[in-house]
């Protein structure tokens, strides 16, 4: 279990003495009951996050999702088709309600475009809009794209462990690297040992919880074990939240690179 969190590279090119030292250290760790190995702490944590994000996105994915936005005074439902490939490319398009059908967003690299069929225009989103809400939901444009920013722009640290349905869960605190262009002061992730992201908490600079994402009903979806429901909740009072449910999803199929173009953005919903 311990070696799970220490990357295997640690053992390479190291003398017997070190090995013994590590064994002793591992023993001490086991005895003390602390599930972390501080020396490789950061690396291990980053590895866990990276693997989880890769697992979440797969090589590629195509899905039909239902989204429900809930507010105290009203709620609204919409359905969308989503395609992702690698860490950078994604395309979302609304398929219902009919009034909004065809509105979509394309994310390629760090750039993002949005399309509206009524005015038949593609508008490039300014970078400042990336943290804005996507179609009025509690998900931001960034959240939906689930880019690799959480791996690249943050320093990761294992801060605890718990159990979920008999499996170990790593609790990882992510703090932004100096100078990284991120809006959050801190994020806390709970990632199960089978790479499933259970919880993602977003904190502002004053360490206040702004919103959190939870994955529930973990079951085989589209050929792999995956939470079917994702809930993004604003604040802690439970009044404002958005649920995304995967109606259908397929992972790791062949999507050509030239699918993620502005042409697809205008046509994908048809």
């Amino acid at each position: 279990m311990i070696y799970d969190v220490c990357p295997p590279t640690i053992h390479l090119r190291k003398g017997m003495k070190v090995m013994i030292g590590q064994a002793v250290f591992a023993l001490l760790v086991i005895l003390s009951g602390a599930p972390v190995c501080p020396a490789a702490d950061t690396l291990a944590a980053e590895h866990i996050v990276d693997t989880a994000i890769r697992y979440y996105r797969g090589q590629s994915s195509a899905a039909i999702m239902d989204m429900k936005i809930v507010r105290p005074a009203w709620s609204r439902e919409l359905s969308l088709k989503a395609w992702t490939k690698g860490q950078k490319n994604s395309l979302f398009t609304i398929i219902s309600p009919p009034k909004d059908e065809g509105n979509g967003t394309l994310k390629k690299g760090d750039e993002m475009w949005t399309y509206n069929p009524k005015i038949n225009r593609i508008i490039k989103l300014p970078p400042s809009m990336m943290s804005q809400s996507w179609m009025g939901s509690d998900f931001s444009n960034d959240d939906l794209a689930k880019s690799d920013s959480i791996v690249e722009d943050y320093v990761h640290r294992l801060i605890g462990a718990e159990f979920h349905e008999g499996k170990r869960v790593h609790v990882i605190q992510c703090t932004p690297k100096p100078g990284a262009a991120v809006v959050w002061g801190k994020q806390v992730l709970k990632i199960r040992e089978d790479h499933i992201l259970l919880l993602q908490e977003f904190y502002d600079e004053d360490n206040r919880l702004v919103k959190f994402l939870t994955g529930t009903q973990i079951e085989p979806v589209g050929g792999k074990v995956f939470p079917r429901f994702w809930t993004m909740q604003k604040g802690t009072d439970g009044r404002d939240f958005t649920i995304v449910a995967y109606r259908e999803v397929r992972f790791d199929m062949e999507i050509p690179d030239d699918f993620f173009t502005r042409t697809s953005l205008t046509n994908a919903w048809r």
Binding site: N116, I119, K124, L125, S128, M135
Partner: protein, 410 residues
């Protein structure tokens, strides 16, 4: 005129140069205080007036919580009801409706997030918005897909009147609100933070686009006079907010732009520092002439005591002298102060220190001092207070005067 007043009056003019110097010091202090206070008050009322006319209005009726959250759902559903109340109020000089929504505005290949505002034809009779048009012309309600754009935003989008701008936002029901509007006019308020974001479309078009029905976000009220605001606010609160079970709220300009009030308070505090220094300087110069007068007149005062005057009588005469000096100086000061203030009030004055604050709030850099009972009252009141306090020193000295040594000394 009693004997003592006559003696005091004659004493003053026995040494005209000394007395004129004292009166000069008093007059000078009065002029400075009246002018500076008028300038400050004038500046504030210019700033308040321009901010109020340009943006917030004296009062606004909003849905409770809108000021804090700016949520499109927190709207005044039936503005006509409030309008009926406002039509009946005599203190109201004008009112208008506005609605706001966050949206992405985009030209051919540039886009910016901004707040789009729907404005009604009433804007012309209420705010000074129409006066900031630098290119093109103003909107009218029945013109549909037209927009007014702030000059910096227009420059960023690279659009001019006649060009098209795409607008993408979210309606009240959560659906996507998208349209293309033609730029009708460019606004140059001279206030960067305003010209960088302003984007106006006709209110009925706004309501249709964002699915608002008849609802608006702000009912902007301009009162006849700034002094009417507090009373009007209270009445509106009773009638409008009370009727709707606190669903609506009345806010005054201080609540609508708290930064403005803060800036004014800060400026007033810095002003106070200046006034304290001025007061100390004036106090010294007045007390100096008063005390010098006693030293110069020791022999005379000693003689009066020797002739049988009681010290109380002596101090009485001195008080009368100081009172006359102060009155004369003050009268001259008020007269000159008012004339100077009125002159600059008519032609304006450019003050480097205030220019920055003025630019920040988008008001002309030229300041017009405003003569008021308040500025004249505070100014002359301060001067009377100072001379009264300083005159106590020589009076106290006289009470310890003994006839023989005083005469010998002088």
């Amino acid at each position: 005129m009693s004997l003592y007043s006559y003696m005091a009056w004659r004493n003053i003019w026995r040494n005209p140069r000394r007395s004129l110097l004292t009166m000069g010091a008093i007059a000078f202090a009065t002029v400075i205080l009246i002018f500076m206070l008028s300038l400050q008050f004038g500046n504030y009322s210019t700033i308040i007036d321009s901010v109020v006319k340009m943006r917030t209005g004296h009062l606004q009726v909003q849905a409770t919580g809108y000021q804090e959250n700016r949520d499109i759902h927190l709207a005044v559903a039936d503005p006509s009801q409030v309008a009926a109340t406002l039509d009946r109020a005599p203190e109201v000089s004008g009112f208008t409706f506005r609605a706001h929504a966050f949206a992405l505005v985009s030209s051919d290949n540039r886009s910016y997030g901004t707040v789009v505002t729907g404005i009604s034809d009433r804007e012309l009779t209420t705010s000074s918005l129409a006066r900031t048009i630098s290119e093109g012309r103003f909107l009218t309600e029945d013109e549909g897909a037209q927009a007014l754009v702030g000059n910096i935003l227009a420059k960023n989008l690279r659009v001019k009147p006649g060009d098209e701008v795409a607008l993408l936002g979210q309606g009240l029901d959560g659906s996507v609100a998208a349209t293309i509007v033609t730029v009708r006019g460019i606004l140059s308020s001279g206030q960067d933070q305003f010209d960088r974001v302003s984007f106006y479309i006709p209110l009925p078009y706004f309501q249709e686009l964002f699915g608002m029905g008849e609802a608006v976000h702000e009912i902007v009220v301009i009162a006849e006079r700034l002094e009417d605001v507090a009373g009007l606010k209270q009445r509106l609160e009773e009638e409008v907010a009370g009727d709707t079970g606190r669903a609506l709220r009345v806010l005054d300009w201080k609540e609508l732009s708290p930064g403005l009030l803060e800036a004014i308070t800060l400026d007033l505090m810095t002003g106070f520092l200046f006034y304290i220094v001025l007061i100390v300087v004036v106090a010294f110069s007045i007390s100096n002439t008063f005390i010098m007068a006693i030293f110069e007149r020791k022999k005379e005062l000693g003689l009066m005591l020797a002739l049988g005057s009681r010290p109380a009588r002596l101090t009485g005469i001195l008080f009368l002298e100081y009172g006359m000096l102060t009155t004369l100086g003050l009268a001259a000061g008020i007269l000159i102060g008012c004339l100077v203030t009125l002159y600059f009030g008519a032609y304006g004055i450019q003050i480097p220190g205030m220019a920055e604050m003025a630019r920040h709030y988008g008001v002309p850099e030229r300041v017009f001092p405003q003569l008021s009972f308040l500025s004249v009252g505070i100014g002359s009141g301060l001067v009377v207070g100072i001379s009264l306090c300083t005159s106590l020193i020589p009076v106290w000295k006289v009470r310890r005067l003994r006839p023989v040594p005083a005469m010998a000394e002088g």
